[in-house]
Symmetry: C2
Subunit: 128 residues, 2 copies
């Protein structure tokens, strides 16, 4: 039996607000929209067309997303951590950690939140 | 600027219990373990080595995961939805929906929960 991990789906309070954020700020591409009873969804993928993120707005729910302590973070890979971090902050994201180059791994990482407060870890890999 | 979606990270109450579930029941492969202060993590990937799932156990937290209403579900793709669903149920997973072939898309899907109650949508694609 073959098994592979697909994408993941997070609930959002305002689908259009989130689609705009992931498209215009994070630079992802809107791949498809899905409507099922009481739920409007959108799937966005990376610029290489690979693995994506599914956003779902439940029309019978109101108010802000209750994060509990279940989902921790999602990763966005980029070739410009500093630039993407700055772009997000200028668009209204909260910083959970300014860009820093790690000593133990060849990466620069930064932490921001999306419009619902989901944490995003921005990762830029370095060749050396 | 290039941006792509990476994997995602969910908090779990018992890392070894979850690693065992995703390895032995879901059939994923343990790719790496990471230890950072107060957190033990594991990353599992699909059998094709592609996109993975990161599990994190915070050592300073106890009790069950509080799911709030933020994370909805993750997708596991397989070539045998019925078999994987049955295997999960026999291992103690709760069914949130028995396998059904959809009319609007060429897929068979089923819903189960992992040991922390995260929802997993099992998807088998059909060529016709």
């Amino acid at each position: 039996m073959q098994t592979n991990v697909g994408h993941f789906c997070i609930n959002v309070a305002d689908l259009e607000r989130s689609v705009t954020f992931y498209e215009e700020v994070m630079g992802l591409k809107l791949d498809q929209r899905i409507q099922i009873p009481n739920v409007n969804e959108a799937i966005l993928v990376g610029q290489d067309g690979s693995s994506g993120i599914q956003l779902a707005e439940h029309l019978d729910r109101t108010g802000v997303i209750d994060h509990g302590n279940a989902f921790w973070k999602l990763y966005i890979h980029t070739d410009d951590c500093e630039g993407l971090f700055r772009k997000a902050i200028e668009a209204g994201s909260t910083s959970n950690g300014a860009p820093q180059r790690l000593e133990q791994w060849p990466v620069t990482i930064a932490f921001i939140t999306d419009p619902d407060g989901y944490e995003i870890e921005i990762v830029q890999s370095h060749s050396e």
